[in-house]
Subunit: 482 residues, 2 copies
């Protein structure tokens, strides 16, 4: 213990500079690194593993609801983008172009997909002939590229990973049901798996997906009060079906255009996860996505060390066998205190300490990363106690995030009130809106906040537009957003 390392957090406090806190944490916890390519990051194993748990869970939910995975080319011929007018306007400025390949200039430039409605629409028009071919329920896990001006690790990167669901249906009703079902799946996933409470609602027309009839989203609040759009689900109507000729013979033997949907979540969820749960000590990971759920640390003087480590290894084997993601840190050149800080910084939800006195008493000490609560439990009940405490931590993290959101949600009647609010306080603002683009734009210009969505279940129903004071058509959540 003589060469004891000094633990230095090197983490900027959230209150001092939230952006620096974020970068400090993700670098120090080795979730990512910058790459030599503009706006692209490397997902390091510790960060990528979190994404793998997300992926597995979503994939399971998609398959349970009848979707199957497929894979489409990432190259999209330039002419494809021209077919849906809003779509090309929305995405054209962000496309990277392959113009040469195999030593030759290409006849037609190829975009790298920013999303795949166009190429999938093209294929669907070949596969769908009859109502018997519907619904067609396909998902794709893929990398996509958007050449963004400003980037931020995980939250907005040039290349990112995502899933994009693309479905085709006989009727508008069915397609709308699908759109809604996937929004529900995203909500459950965010709340139950990531412990992130979300506001579920519809995007205003100016914020909807390029080419959609209606876009729905789930919106999460970060610890600096800003919003992250954590998932979207689009009802595309027959827009892409008309553009790509996705037609089918219906039950009355007449040609119809299919109604399509698309929906996606991406690796930006990693950014949201960190910004919702992290604190000045570093990362805090909900047990369901933590690469290490339990860190075991042997404690006590050198003379009892061998015995303690031996017992730790036995308990490790027991937890491991039950499918708990557990690790032992039995290094002797760093102190237990240093390790406590290190694994708190890395967000490991539960710490297990075992010292000579615990040995005598047949117990261990469990400590929650999020609340600091210590619990002394019998070794005989270890697996059950660990599972119970992990479940409690998961629930605790969700409740804390909900409380934080409640504490930073405000309600206003007028734009002036909102401006004052945005200057004094962080968070979400609930307000009435008449439905006009002009009023929405004015809010953005004067406050920097955008409409996040029109919640299905607003805390209260607003009656007047905050800008023009006309009758409110909707109650909207506004916030500055990532």
């Amino acid at each position: 213990m003589s060469k004891e390392k000094q633990f230095v957090t090197e983490i900027t406090p959230q209150g001092e500079d939230f952006s620096r806190w974020y970068i400090d944490v993700i670098k120090k916890a080795e979730l990512m690194d910058y790459s030599p390519v503009r706006g692209c990051i490397v997902f390091r194993p510790e960060g990528f593993e979190i994404w793998e748990y997300m992926k597995d869970e979503l994939d399971r939910m998609f398959k349970e609801t009848g979707h199957r995975n497929a894979y489409f080319p990432m190259f999209i011929p330039e002419s494809f983008f021209q077919k849906e007018k809003e779509h090309v306007e929305g995405f054209n400025p962000e496309l990277p172009w392959v113009t040469e390949a195999g030593g030759e200039k290409l006849e037609e430039r190829l975009a790298i997909r920013p999303t795949s409605e166009t190429i999938i629409g093209h294929m669907y028009s070949k596969w769908i002939q009859s109502y018997r071919d519907l619904p067609l329920l396909i998902n794709q896990w893929a990398n996509v590229v958007r050449w963004e001006k400003r980037t931020l690790p995980f939250l907005r990167t040039t290349e990112f990973l995502w899933q994009e669901g693309h479905t085709a249906h006989e009727t508008e009703e069915e397609a709308r049901q699908e759109t809604n079902q996937m929004l529900q799946i995203y909500t459950e996933f965010a709340e139950n798996f990531l412990a992130i409470p979300v506001i579920v609602g519809q995007k205003t027309p100016s914020e909807k997906f390029a080419g959609a009839v209606d876009t729905y989203s789930i919106e999460a609040m970060m610890k600096d009060g800003r919003a992250v759009q954590a998932g979207t689900s689009h009802y595309l109507g027959t827009n892409f079906a008309v553009a790509f000729d996705i037609k089918f013979l219906d039950r009355e033997n007449t040609q119809q255009f299919a109604h399509t949907t698309s929906w996606g979540v991406s690796t930006r969820l990693l950014g949201a996860l960190i910004m919702v749960h992290g604190d000045d000590r570093g990362l805090a990971l909900p047990p369901k996505v933590a690469p290490t759920q339990v860190i075991m640390i042997p404690i006590g003087p050198p003379k009892t060390r061998e015995q303690v480590v031996g017992r730790v290894d036995e308990l490790y084997a027991e937890l491991k066998k039950s499918g708990i993601r557990v690790k032992v840190d039995d290094r002797s050149d760093v102190s237990p205190g240093w390790k406590f800080n290190e694994y708190e910084m890395r967000g490991v939800p539960l710490r297990l300490e075992l010292g000579p006195r615990d040995m005598e008493n047949g117990q261990v000490v469990l400590v929650s990363r999020i609340s600091g609560e210590k619990r002394v439990v019998a070794q005989a009940d270890l697996t059950a106690e660990v599972e119970r405490m992990l479940a409690e931590i998961q629930a605790d993290m969700f409740e804390r995030a909900k409380q934080f959101r409640a504490d930073h949600s405000h309600s206003v009647e007028t734009l002036d009130e909102m401006k004052a609010m945005m200057e004094e306080k962080r968070g979400f603002v609930l307000a009435g809106w008449c439905g006009s683009d002009a009023c929405e734009r004015q809010v953005k210009e004067e406050t920097g906040a955008t409409s996040r969505n029109i919640p299905y279940q607003p805390a209260e129903k607003k009656t007047k537009c905050l800008v023009c004071e006309e009758k409110a058509a909707h109650t909207v959540v506004f916030a500055r957003a990532y």
Copy 2:
């Protein structure tokens, strides 16, 4: 049953035209479709699901041996390729280039990765400082692009999916152990999971990976006698470490270059799987990768139909509960015979038939796709019997593929003998080789066959070079290859 559909296989017999057979099968079984992008295919759900099983199994094997997944950008700055001379020469002709993005011409062109040694090498040089950082064991699942002149679905496509492992080690010995370990994993995977027997060995220098010191491969024989390289593992020496400055302080506190490896398998395994097991009736899928392992077909006249279908549904629930991938086809507008053909064409390994007489006797009929063997088993033992028969089919398919390979493996002493052999018969040719590029080239020019590898365990040891008749340095397997 009056509107009975006629089953039309539309599959060209293998003996008539193997290439057409292949395309017929993969199109008709809906494994893939051509895309509007040159050389790129769409992996349809039925094909992609097979890849998902492969991926899950390999991923499990990689993790068991201490590897973790990460994700690196798919864009590689042009200057990176210049750093390893052989690498750039090998891959430059096949690169696609992004030259414009976000509405501007890029200052430096970006290649789309054909493989990621360069960008990963760059990151490793940042992450590796000390021997304590080693070994670094990372794998990536990704899409890669090679602008090939001639393409063939699954086996050689412009964009394809793969995994690429990249590891760094303290010593040559350790790196070589890793290279060998991964080759062993690929071998086990091919033989035990895909039921594809492979020849394990080292590539000749002219066939090795661009930038490797040594390349090792597993080679499989297709039903037309041609070879598919089913996986490769490379010992890269310090070539990439020198090019990208991957250095570490060793245990004696001196700077050393790391020894690196890389290894990969790709979606070309789907092509191999189909060409190894398929026959004139269509696909034949080993149970371990079959999206549907058991197809249940109710049989008998309309009057008993409801009762039979009811019982089929009960048995379905039982099999499903045990984790068997099972489906029921109870359509009444197509005959059982039509269904038999349909699911044989789709390669479903096991068919379950249930008719009124089976109901009376409390039994079902199980039929193997691969051997046609029929087995009458008691409904009471159904799950166990199905599991047993699936395991037997898996083993049977491996044995058949081994027998086929044995029947089409030849041994020659001279080039003339080999030429005669290649004209008369399909298959692999075992021959001695002096080790000179010239002799190897002559074999290729005169027979169209390339050296596949130098097997670890050749059927016999050759003493003379088949071309120059000098002393053989190696015994080599030659074959025409995909």
